[in-house]
């Protein structure tokens, strides 16, 4: 694969990895809130904030997965002679 398409493919891999990282972030957020709730330490406003963050993480993971797929396709197309 020529250098430029390969570079695009590397971006695609990083984006895919970041999409997974965002999903992990959502899991951590969920656990942070659950732990605070269980310990009776969660401020009243926290649930709403975490809910918003969770939704955003999910949307961001979807966006990044989509971008990774598009970048992969772009790399393959650009590599064709």
């Amino acid at each position: 694969m020529p250098a430029v398409p390969e570079r695009i493919a590397v971006h695609a891999e990083v984006l895919r990895s970041d999409a997974r990282a965002l999903a992990e972030c959502a899991e951590r957020l969920r656990r942070i809130e659950a732990d605070l709730e269980a310990g009776g330490a969660a401020p009243q406003w926290l649930r709403e904030s975490v809910r918003a963050h969770l939704a955003a993480c999910a949307a961001a993971a979807t966006d990044l997965t989509e971008a990774a797929t598009r970048m992969r396709g772009y790399a393959e197309r650009a590599a064709r002679p």
Binding site: I8, L46, D63
Partner: protein
């Protein structure tokens, strides 16, 4: 872990954040603290014990780095009936800080993802290949653009690189926020919530809580109104004093969420605990740009203390003795160097550095306002360089062991001295004790230097580096950090050396004993004292002669 300290203490240790602080004290702590002054204080070398070469560092006075380290928070005594409630609040505060810390990791991970997407979007290769696959390329570009601008996902998140930074600044000016910033804001709010458990007055006071809530919710107009109301009702001193425990967090919240792109980096540093706030979090003026105005190689001239001042100097080395010496020397542009003969017969030296000198903000003293600022912000300042000149003039032999003690700006200056590799190659800095100083991001050049930091949570000065009572980071697992508060909430009273001395003498016996235990090699008779008048640079005639 909850323990009582001392008989009927007005304070109670209520949280161990980073490790034990009540292990065995490794040295005598019951020697005289401040006796009558008998020893020579005139700077003469007479009576000075012959120096012996310092022992190899591993066997030196520092002992194991695992001993006498960690952080402790003290709070005022609660109603004894309220023990269970207090323990619950302590647990909750610990949980909130841990959660705030973890949210920082989440925020940073999200920020990195945004940076990667921005890098892909702005990479020349991505654009350069468009002629080869225009449709696929356009679709890829569009998906990347959506990823870094989707308000329901990463938010407005371009970051990194020239284009990314420019886009981020434009976005900030338009009030656009990223998901990473929103997560960090949640982390800061959890830090405020943790501090509020220690300082219920923050929640009980409707004016203070209104301001904190408005700042956290990015309600600019309401925050300004709340601040004005506070200032009108309490005055600047009481307002600052009340806000002090959450000062850094409130400023960082405002800076993260406001439309000023200049203060974003400083807010990010405060929120993530990654470094000293690089700019003031209000308008974003670069701290370094201000600090570099404080120039000078530093100079020190030996001066005699007045008889009254000399009479106040301690004759025995101890933490309180050194701090009382700093009080005796005062904020007069001077510093003190003493030699003490330790229990092992070895003579060691103690540099004692007072806080800011009153007067014009920028005069010829490195202890002026600008000097205090540069000492806090920069790694080296005219103040620390002047202290190095003072030590040089005092004349300890190469390798001699030194303890550095400083209050306020003096604490920042002695930490700068401790992180001066050249100075530490010449002398052995065994201890650095900073009281009421912003030193969170200082790092001694020699990792074996034992560092202690004592701060009152209502003292704003130590929070000027962005980290205060709400700090959720384990910045110094190898330091001994005492972060406490008492019933005196008024700044600048709680910042004064006299107030710290009174707290350490009467209210913090455990901390005092621990630090004194570590200072055991310096706990002997004072055999020499010399004061130095410090200046930014050597007088012209003297400079040209050298």
């Amino acid at each position: 872990m909850n323990e009582e300290i001392g008989p009927e203490p007005p304070f109670r240790r209520h949280a161990h954040v980073n490790g034990p602080v009540n292990g065995p004290v490794d040295g005598p702590v019951d020697g005289p603290v401040n006796g009558p002054v008998n020893g020579p204080v005139d700077g003469s070398m007479s009576g000075e014990t012959e120096f012996t070469p310092p022992p190899p560092r591993p066997g030196s006075v520092n002992g194991s780095p695992q001993e006498e380290t960690g952080s402790a928070r003290w709070s005022p005594r609660h109603d004894p009936q309220d023990g269970a409630g207090r323990e619950k609040a302590e647990r909750a505060a610990r949980s909130l800080r841990a959660a705030a810390r973890e949210l920082v990791d989440v925020g940073v991970a999200i920020h990195e993802a945004a940076a990667h997407a921005t890098a892909a979007l702005t990479d020349g290769a991505t654009l350069g290949a468009l002629p080869r696959a225009p449709l696929a390329g356009c679709l890829a570009q569009r998906s990347l653009l959506r990823a870094v601008t989707n308000g329901k996902g990463l938010g407005y998140a371009p970051t990194g690189g020239r284009l990314g930074a420019l886009a981020a600044k434009l976005g900030a000016m338009a009030g656009a926020e990223s998901l990473a910033v929103r997560v960090l804001a949640t982390s800061l709010r959890l830090r405020v919530a943790a501090v509020t458990l220690d300082h219920p007055e923050l929640a009980d006071d409707p004016m203070l809580s209104r301001l904190v809530e408005a700042a956290a919710a990015d309600r600019d107009l309401e925050a300004v109104r709340a601040l004005r109301a506070l200032l009108r009702d309490r005055g600047a001193v009481r307002t600052l004093s009340g806000l002090a425990p959450v000062f850094g967090e409130v400023l960082a919240l405002r800076a993260l969420l406001d439309e000023n792109p200049l203060n974003d980096a400083a807010a990010w540093l405060i929120a993530t605990g990654k470094g000293y706030a690089s700019a003031d979090p209000i308008i974003g003026m670069s701290n370094r740009a201000v600090a570099v105005l404080d120039t000078g190689e530093g100079a020190a001239r030996p001066v005699d203390l007045t008889a009254a001042e000399a009479a106040r100097l301690g004759t025995q080395g101890s933490l309180l003795g050194f701090l009382r010496n700093i009080s005796a020397v005062g904020t007069t542009g001077r510093a003190l160097v003493q030699s003490v003969e330790g229990p092992d017969g070895v003579v060691r030296h103690v540099v004692q550095a007072p806080g800011m000198r009153t007067g014009r903000p920028d005069n010829d003293s490195p202890q002026d306002l600008l000097g205090a600022f540069s000492s806090a912000v920069l790694d080296s300042s005219p103040y620390s360089r002047a202290l190095a000149r003072a030590v040089e003039a005092y004349g300890p032999p190469p390798g001699a062991e030194l303890a550095l003690i400083g209050h306020s700006a003096g604490g920042a200056a002695i930490m700068n001295l401790a992180q001066d590799a050249e100075f530490c190659a010449r002398y052995t800095v065994t201890h650095a004790v900073a009281v009421g100083s912003p030193v969170d991001f200082k790092r001694p050049a020699d990792p074996r230097t034992w560092v202690a930091s004592v701060t009152n949570q209502h003292d704003i000065i130590p929070t000027l580096d962005g980290q205060g009572a709400g700090n959720c980071f384990d910045l110094h697992p190898d330091w001994y950090v005492v972060d406490y508060f008492d019933s005196t909430h008024l700044f600048p009273l709680c910042h004064s050396i006299e107030h710290y001395i009174a707290n350490i003498a009467d209210d913090l016996p455990d901390a005092r004993d621990r630090i004194d235990g570590r200072l055991t090699p310096y706990r002997g008779p004072v055999v020499r004292s010399q004061a130095y008048l410090l200046s930014d640079r050597a007088p012209r005639a003297e400079a040209s002669a050298t």
